[in-house]
Symmetry: C2
Subunit: 560 residues, 2 copies
């Protein structure tokens, strides 16, 4: 465990300064992960298929979960998982808590880092599991589901450690008095809240679950991991690794348990309302998120949610034609990546109906729309290459919208600027892969663009002016939330106004992205993923507030 001390130190420094840091290499290259890593990971993944998942050991079970996992790329996974015996699991978790509590923050952090480093070693296996549950293309499943998720885990562990170590273990309190001062010694003890529940999502099963899982575990709380019924395997592997490392380190594996369920069982509700559950981390749809905030939040539990929103871009002006190509290329990537099935993917693009300035020229709204459309078409023109960016559509809801863009445009009162195209997957013929569509709307079509339209569709919205674009950005995000926002302008006053608009909206802003960074990407240790300041999410990965309330401090004081 000593080996992890340096990692914790470097990571803590980066987190404090919000500078670049990454502990786990994002390249799936054999030079990094070893010549056989990819093949070994695939083989291990394949060994799970059509079988019982047995790596959870003696986790208390009262039956099996009939799996619903079907790869968005086609094949059924057919893995069955033990169904958690909830009462026995709660009892086991509570029993495991005191020894974990008394181990102290630094031991917990080291054990957690060891877990993450074991997960890292199995990144290819996890990547396959993420790919075939989320529909992410392989490289993205590797990066976002593997090293990037692992970096987010480390970020949460380090944030938790720093926060706990800000509390001194002991203090001598000496109050001046007539004669001798009054002296007391005060010991401060970190205690956990209770059992934590992590509710995973379908599209980013590991990336979104790891911050809450490791923030709670590192602060002393046992964790129940409730995966999405269609994305169990990535978290089952994760929980198995957690339990293995905990046991090796001499702790009770009941500190992390998997609560797999069949769809429709409603296990998340049952667990969320269990009185022993004190902390809940959730990523997913806004309806259940709102229920959790109201019912579990109203019952005094800590509830951290990431839901949905209307991510927005304002295009005002650009310095020159190459800049415009940078803009359209950058946006084409952002719209295409994982077919827009990211909580950070842009949706609403506000453009003045009079067009934008490009250097000395004026480009009309139509010119800009055409340029973006052409960039998308070009970027996704080769099917074999396109599927490595687009991945596969994750569910019927997304597929339904993507396959009938004209119908969607009609329902929304808009016009099709670019239709979605079916892309044939060379390896997985059953995968439904779709290129992004563009629908033109007017700023007056408010009901059309104030709800999330998940998947490969973006709206180009004609406004009266950039000022109105920024106003709409602020208003829609204050009401409906957003994870990301971007602005394109070569006018410093507009950029300043955009910063103010985003401060009012409570959303992070990316300015003039025309290079290799995209609005839908947030970097661990540096970017706050979510602000907690608008309805899309009530918290941020990872700030002090995300970890500081997961533990409490109990003092004992006495005279000396």
């Amino acid at each position: 465990m000593r080996a992890h001390e340096a990692t914790l130190e470097e990571a803590a420094a980066a987190l404090a300064a919000r500078t670049f840091y990454s502990r786990y290499p994002e390249s799936p290259s054999p030079r990094v992960y070893g010549e056989t890593a990819a093949a070994d990971g695939l083989a291990t993944y394949e060994s799970y298929l059509g079988d019982k998942f047995v790596a959870l050991g003696d986790q208390p079970a009262d039956g099996d979960v009939d799996a619903e996992e079907v790869s968005p790329f086609g094949p059924r996974l057919d893995v069955s998982y033990p169904h958690l015996d909830v009462d026995a699991a709660i009892t086991a978790a509570l029993g495991a808590m005191p020894a974990w509590r008394d181990a102290g923050p630094r031991v917990r952090a080291a054990v957690c880092v060891e877990i993450v480093s074991r997960i890292n070693a199995r990144s290819f296996e996890v990547a396959q599991a993420v790919m075939h549950t989320s529909g992410q293309p392989f490289v993205m499943a590797f990066q976002a589901g593997g090293p990037h998720a692992q970096d987010r885990a480390l970020e949460a562990i380090v944030a938790a450690l720093v926060e706990q170590e800000r509390v001194p273990t002991t203090a001598t309190w000496e109050k001046p008095a007539k004669g001798d001062p009054i002296r007391m010694v005060k010991d401060f003890r970190i205690v956990p809240r209770g059992i934590a529940l992590v509710i995973g999502c379908n599209t980013f099963p590991t990336w979104n679950a790891y911050p809450g899982l490791f923030a709670s575990l590192a602060t002393g709380n046992p964790v129940l991991v409730k995966p999405h019924p269609r994305a169990v395997l990535p978290l089952a592997i994760t929980v198995a690794i957690c339990r293995e490392v905990l046991a090796e380190a001499g702790f009770d594996p009941a500190l992390v348990q998997l609560a797999a369920e069949a769809g429709g069982e409603g296990l998340a509700k049952t667990l969320a309302l269990n009185p022993a559950v004190k902390i809940i981390d959730y990523t997913g749809g806004p309806t259940f998120g709102a229920w959790l905030e109201k019912e579990a939040g109203g019952a005094g539990k800590l509830v951290y949610t990431e839901k949905a929103g209307v991510n927005s871009i304002v295009i005002d002006s650009i310095a020159d034609p190459p800049g415009l190509r940078g803009l359209t290329g950058n946006l084409a990537f952002s719209f295409s990546l994982y077919s827009g099935q990211m909580c950070t993917a842009p949706q609403n693009v506000y453009i003045p109906r009079s067009g934008i300035r490009v250097g000395d020229q004026q480009a009309s709204f139509e010119d800009v729309a055409d340029a973006i459309g052409m960039a998308i078409s070009k970027f996704t023109g080769d099917d074999a290459k396109a599927v490595e960016i687009l991945g596969a559509t994750v569910n019927d809801d997304v597929r339904g919208r993507a396959t009938d863009i004209p119908g969607l445009a009609e329902r929304l009162g808009g016009t099709v600027l670019l239709d979605s195209r079916a892309v044939a997957h060379p390896t997985f013929p059953d995968a439904v892969a779709r290129t992004p569509a563009l629908i033109g709307l007017d700023v007056a079509d408010e009901s059309a663009y104030t709800q999330e339209c998940f998947g490969p569709v973006a709206f180009l919205i004609a406004t009266d002016s950039t000022q109105q674009s920024l106003q709409r950005l602020t208003e829609t995000i204050r009401q409906h939330g957003a994870m990301t926002a971007a602005v394109y302008s070569c006018d410093e006053e507009v950029l300043d106004a955009a910063r103010d608009a985003c401060a009012e909206a409570g959303v992070a802003l990316s300015e003039n992205l025309t290079g290799p960074v995209f609005v839908n990407q947030t970097a661990a240790f540096s970017d706050y993923h979510g602000t907690g300041a608008n309805p899309a999410a009530n918290s941020a990965y990872t700030d002090a507030a995300f970890v500081a309330n997961r533990f409490r401090v109990v003092t004992s004081r006495r005279h000396v």
Copy 2:
């Protein structure tokens, strides 16, 4: 404002180390506060009586509040306050927010410290207002309502400043890449949550309101202060000072507004559910506290509550007869101070029915009860001196219980070990002052001792053993909450067991207090007031979690 830099630095160091620190002298001595300070404060206080409170300036009003303030010492205050025009107040507060936000954490902290130092200079005036609304004896009203409350305010300001300054204002992010690294500059901007509401209580109108008020204000949020209908004046003076200093510093006084109400209006509910209100700090009864947690908490607002509980003491053994005298004297003071009308006053005293060891001797349960009773009788024997500790009973509920201890004991199924005695106040003949009573209960009388019995009554509870005493302490506090706990033992194993019991219960422990520190006292900067880990309070004055979520961070990033 520069003058406050040193204060902020010293206070931040003390808060980090949890060592002794006090900025505002607790002695009401003329040598500290000036020869005429006491008389001036009294005169200013008296100038408010029977009149309209006009010091709030142009705060938007839609009428007057018919005051209900009657001093527990007798006289009616007859002050009338402007009734807040809620819609106009919300609009004004929101309008004041951007300039306050953009001033930044350090300017806000300096302005807040200036407010507190002005409040400090008016400590005698505030003390009179606290005394005649809460019933606290004068010296306590001065200390707890004045300097100690001011120290708690400074603690919140410093905690907020430190927390905000942990976020860098800017970072350069440099990701290694083939060729040149990818470089971005990221600016991080602190933004407030929205309007904060502080709901004051009757017994500690300033002490309990200041942490929330200053934590919210220092993090950029405008504050509405809703005092208890019977304790308006201390917070009206406070708000007037806030507004005066804010205006002098060039900010809109609408950042702090008083929301006085007549009893029965339900203004707290109205304000708590207003969508613009995002943060609520509450001290008071558990019924309304639970409503706030459920309804406002469930609506996604941050709710910080301090309610009620069953503060507990376990007596196991004591080293020698002088130690026993120290114990009984210490407890007599704790029970008597402000007639037990403190959220930290002890209530349940668990003593083995077989008695306790005192050095080589065994003292029976009755011996211990007699010794505590005698200590109380002796300590409160002289009426003129006793009222300076007891103060006056704050309301009819407390008076009803205190004047019929035999009836209370009968209802609880206990026996009167010491009756409460009416104490004549030499200056205020209408004050109802009562000495503490002791009621004997058996550990089986669970329903009797698992609810808060506010006021001058304590229970001595006979248990089978110290082990059972500690068990009951843990169980009752986990279920019903507590702000404080104490243990008396000369056995290291018992002390260790008590520390574990309190860690499980989530309550702060004082060990073997036989000197000049009392279980009901918590020191700013060092002791956490409340743990947030049991039902008595969901937060602690003041830890990182108390401030870290009152602001959010909005990033803007761009390539360089």
